[in-house]
Each structure stands twice: as structure tokens, then as C-alpha cells.
């Protein structure tokens, strides 16, 4: 793999709260692919996303984004890195304003021209099926609609890396299907690199090209989705993908 193919690399990354909750020796994420991070609760999946998105500092180790360490904050570099990636939370927070203002937030933060903001917001709201909701107050949306707005808001500025933390947990099947289709369309149309954390092994199998299985803060197995699901090397991975791991 060439350096240009790798968008994100993790080396000796660890996070300790009262005990160590994450320790990853090495992980490489290739540009333009969809990765599914699976594993039981407490496996460190969400912690990994938070460290990559710089919401928390790691206890040790380093994350390299586009070949450069993200911990070195010189001349506002941390802000610059953060502007090229984004994270959508399981329970997204929409700001107390209209739907269109929410979608426009990241574009305004990047000082896009007003006309371009209007155009992008309109296109994205169309894609998530909420164009007629543009002027509605975000607080009036259902959980599925709110998650669709959060996704539109996250991709409006076309980040190089999109991190999704359980984006369809607690949503009804029609919203799950819609969001999964959006994720796959985004990856196909814009070659955006996407990492999705999910409890749902079926979802990971449906949309991810590569899968990373985590357990007790460590990566147990990673590889092409079909290979991990059909012929896992580690017995813990096998137990998890076959639904035999109790957690």
C-alpha cells in the first residue's frame, strides 16, 4: 500500500481512564473505502472515533491523518485537520434553529459563499428526503429525521473522512435503509472514506468493504468484510459474527 492510499494511520494508540480502555498497536485506513468497526459494548469502538476526531487526547501513541500526526498543533493545524473530518454521533445534537441552518453550520464555519451554501443545503436536503422541512425548527423532527439532518450537515462540506458512531441505533427499518443507502451513495459518488461503528453485524456486512473487529479495547481481526465474516481467523471473531458472543 502506498502512503497516498492511506488516509488514516494509528500507531500504539492508547486511552486510559481508570483502566486502559483502548490499545491499538497499528491500524491503517485506506482512502475511499467504507470500514465497519464491530464489537461488543465496551470494546473501545466509540473511544477510537473520539480520539481520531480529537475530541479527547490519547494517553499514548499517535494518529496520523493524511500522513501527518494530528497531535502536533502548530499554526492552527488541529483546526485544519478537524475541518477535513467529521463525526456523527449516535444521538445527534441539532442546534436550536431551522433544519437548513443546521445543515449550513459547517459551511458557514468554513466561510463558504452564501449562494453556494444555499445550493448545497438544498441538494443535501433533497438527498435525505427533507427538502420540504428546510424551514422547520430542528426540535420538531423525529429521531430518524434528525439523524438524516445530522448526516446531511456532516457531509455538506465534503470531509475527506466521515466517522459515524452507531448512526442507525434505535431507528426504524425505513430510516436505517435510507441512511445506509446514503452512506453507500456518498462513498460511490465522492470516494469519501467512511468509518462506521456499529453493533449490527448485518449492517456492517451490508455496507462495509472492510471490517475491524474490536474486543476489550483491542483490534482482534481486520480485513475484507466477506473474509472476516466467512472465514474468521480468531475464535472470538467467529463467536461474534456467528452471534454466539454474549455481551
Amino acid at each position: 500500500m502506498s502512503g497516498k492510499e492511506i488516509i488514516l494511520e494509528v500507531k500504539n494508540l492508547s486511552k486510559v481512564y481508570e483502566k486502559e480502555v483502548l490499545h491499538i498497536d497499528q491500524l491503517s485506513i485506506r482512502r475511499g473505502r467504507i470500514y465497519g468497526i464491530i464489537g461488543p459494548s465496551g470494546a473501545g469502538k466509540s473511544t477510537l472515533l473520539r480520539l481520531v476526531n480529537m475530541l479527547e487526547p490519547p494517553t499514548g501513541g499517535e494518529v496520523y491523518f493524511q500522513g501527518r500526526p494530528i497531535s502536533i498543533n502548530v499554526n492552527g493545524r488541529a483546526d485544519a485537520v478537524r475541518r477535513e473530518m467529521t463525526l456523527v454521533f449516535q444521538k445527534p445534537l441539532l442546534f436550536g434553529t431551522s433544519v437548513e441552518e443546521n445543515v449550513a453550520f459547517g459551511l458557514k464555519a468554513r466561510r463558504f459563499a452564501r449562494e453556494e451554501i444555499r445550493e448545497r443545503v438544498d441538494i443535501l436536503l433533497g438527498k435525505v428526503g427533507l427538502r420540504e422541512f428546510a424551514r422547520r425548527h430542528a426540535a420538531t423532527l423525529s429521531g430518524g429525521e434528525a439523524q438524516r439532518v445530522a448526516l446531511a450537515r456532516a457531509v455538506a462540506f465534503e470531509p475527506a473522512l466521515l466517522l459515524l458512531d452507531e448512526p442507525t441505533a434505535n431507528l426504524d427499518p425505513s430510516n436505517v435503509e435510507l441512511i445506509e443507502r446514503l452512506i453507500m451513495d456518498l462513498n460511490r459518488e465522492t470516494a469519501m472514506t467512511i468509518i462506521i461503528v456499529t453493533h449490527n453485524i448485518f449492517q456492517a456486512r451490508r455496507i462495509a468493504q472492510e471490517v475491524i473487529f474490536m474486543h476489550e479495547g483491542r483490534i482482534i481481526e481486520a480485513g475484507e468484510t466477506e473474509k472476516v465474516f466467512t472465514s474468521p481467523e480468531d475464535p472470538r471473531t467467529r463467536a461474534f459474527v456467528e452471534g454466539r458472543m454474549v455481551y
Binding site: D79, F105, A109
Partner: protein, 233 residues
């Protein structure tokens, strides 16, 4: 004079816009509103800063603010008096027995209330807002602005609570203002004086106006506590 008679006379003073009563009401509003404006300018940034810090790192300041929220007005008045009296460090400014001194005393009472309630409001949702704004690429200024904007109802509630506290207090303004007619006499100090003199109609009239103002303030507070909606609707 019966209570009913007193109320009747009080209403007639209000309805005829008695100049003495109007002057006292206007000065009260002027002093309290200015004190709250300055307290908002100091208290909201302080509360926002503390609200965004982890609670375990602001434990002492939080306790201090909660203590100062219940600061007796006479103590606030005494401290300001000692600062601005002729022998005090700010004595040369000649502020004692002026509306400015009263504003200072009410400012001291309102700041802890506004800061503490802002801190509580921001703490309830601020971290989530901060993280969301950060993931969307906002810089520090935009993050701070977004957190304040998203906590606006809590902040307005804090400001209105501060106003409610200072407009009804009597001890601090009595000590530093001196209750001088036409100069530093406000509603609460006037009520004390007129009651002492047996001039119940003016005291009752002022009391009624104070109640009306208090009702308006609490209606506003009720609205903000409902997140901008009337919560009984």
C-alpha cells in the same frame, strides 16, 4: 386608615401618575436595570467559562458562587460602603450616597446569581454542543458563540432571576444610597420610610407597582424556563 382605603388611595396615586411615585419608580428601574446589564456582561462569560470546564475542576469556585448567591444584601451594601466611603480605597471618587453606589451594590448581588445559573444551564448541554460544533469544524470563537446561543433560554432565565433579586432588595441600596429624596430613593427604601411615617397609601402604591414588576419578571422567567414556550400551553 383601613387596608381597603389604603389600596384605593394607592391606586389613585398610580392612576393620576403622582410625580413623586413616578420618580421613585423610574430611579428604581434605572438602577436595577443598569446593575443587571453590567452583571450580565460579567456573569455570563464567567458562567459560560465555568460551565464548559469539568465540574471537578471548578468545585471551589462553584461553591463560592452558590454561597454568594445567598449573600445578604446588607452585607453586600456594607462591603461596597467600606470600599467607597471617604476612608475606603475608592473614597476619592465620591460615590457614596449616589445612584452609582447603588448600582455597584446591586451588581455585587446579581453577578453570582447570573454566573451560577448560567454555569448550570451551560453545564447541562454545553459539552454536547461544544463537541458537535467542534466536529463540524468550528473555531474557538464560533464554538463559544454556539454554546451561548444554544443556552440562551437558561441565560435569559439567569438574567431575569438576577433582576428579580436586585429590584426587590432594600438593605444594600439603603446603606450605600442613603434613601435621599429625589436622588437615591427607590421603591423598596421608600416603602420602608413611608411605612415608618404612617404614609401607607404611597407605601402601598409602591408595593403594588413592585408586585406588578415582580409579576412581569416572573412571567418572563416562566417563559424562559419553558425553553421559550409557555410551559402550561
Amino acid at each position: 386608615m383601613s387596608l381597603l382605603e389604603g389600596v384605593f388611595k394607592a391606586f389613585s396615586l398610580i392612576l393620576t401618575l403622582d410625580p413623586n411615585l413616578i420618580r421613585i419608580v423610574l430611579l428604581s428601574l434605572q438602577v436595577s436595570l443598569l446593575a443587571v446589564v453590567f452583571a450580565t456582561l460579567a456573569g455570563v462569560p464567567l458562567g459560560a467559562y465555568l460551565g464548559l470546564k469539568p465540574p471537578e475542576r471548578t468545585r471551589f469556585v462553584s461553591k463560592l458562587l452558590y454561597t454568594l448567591m445567598g449573600l445578604p444584601p446588607v452585607v453586600a451594601g456594607l462591603v461596597i460602603y467600606l470600599l467607597i466611603s471617604r476612608m475606603g480605597p475608592l473614597g476619592v471618587l465620591g460615590l457614596l450616597y449616589t445612584p452609582t453606589a447603588m448600582i455597584m451594590a446591586q451588581f455585587a448581588l446579581a453577578v453570582p446569581i447570573i454566573a451560577a445559573l448560567t454555569m448550570i444551564g451551560i453545564r447541562s448541554r454545553g459539552k454536547e454542543v461544544q463537541e458537535t460544533a467542534r466536529t463540524l469544524g468550528a473555531d474557538r470563537i464560533l464554538i463559544a458563540w454556539t454554546v451561548v446561543r444554544e443556552s440562551r433560554f437558561a441565560i435569559f432565565g439567569a438574567v431575569v432571576t438576577g433582576l428579580g433579586r436586585v429590584i426587590a432588595e432594600v438593605g444594600a441600596v439603603m446603606i450605600v444610597g442613603g434613601n435621599i429624596e429625589g436622588h437615591t430613593r427607590v421603591m423598596t427604601t421608600a416603602i420602608v420610610l413611608e411605612t415608618g411615617k404612617g404614609n401607607f397609601e404611597l407605601a402601598l402604591g409602591l408595593g403594588l407597582i413592585l408586585l406588578l414588576i415582580s409579576f412581569a419578571i416572573n412571567s418572563l422567567l416562566y417563559y424562559f424556563q419553558g425553553g421559550g414556550k409557555d410551559i402550561v400551553r
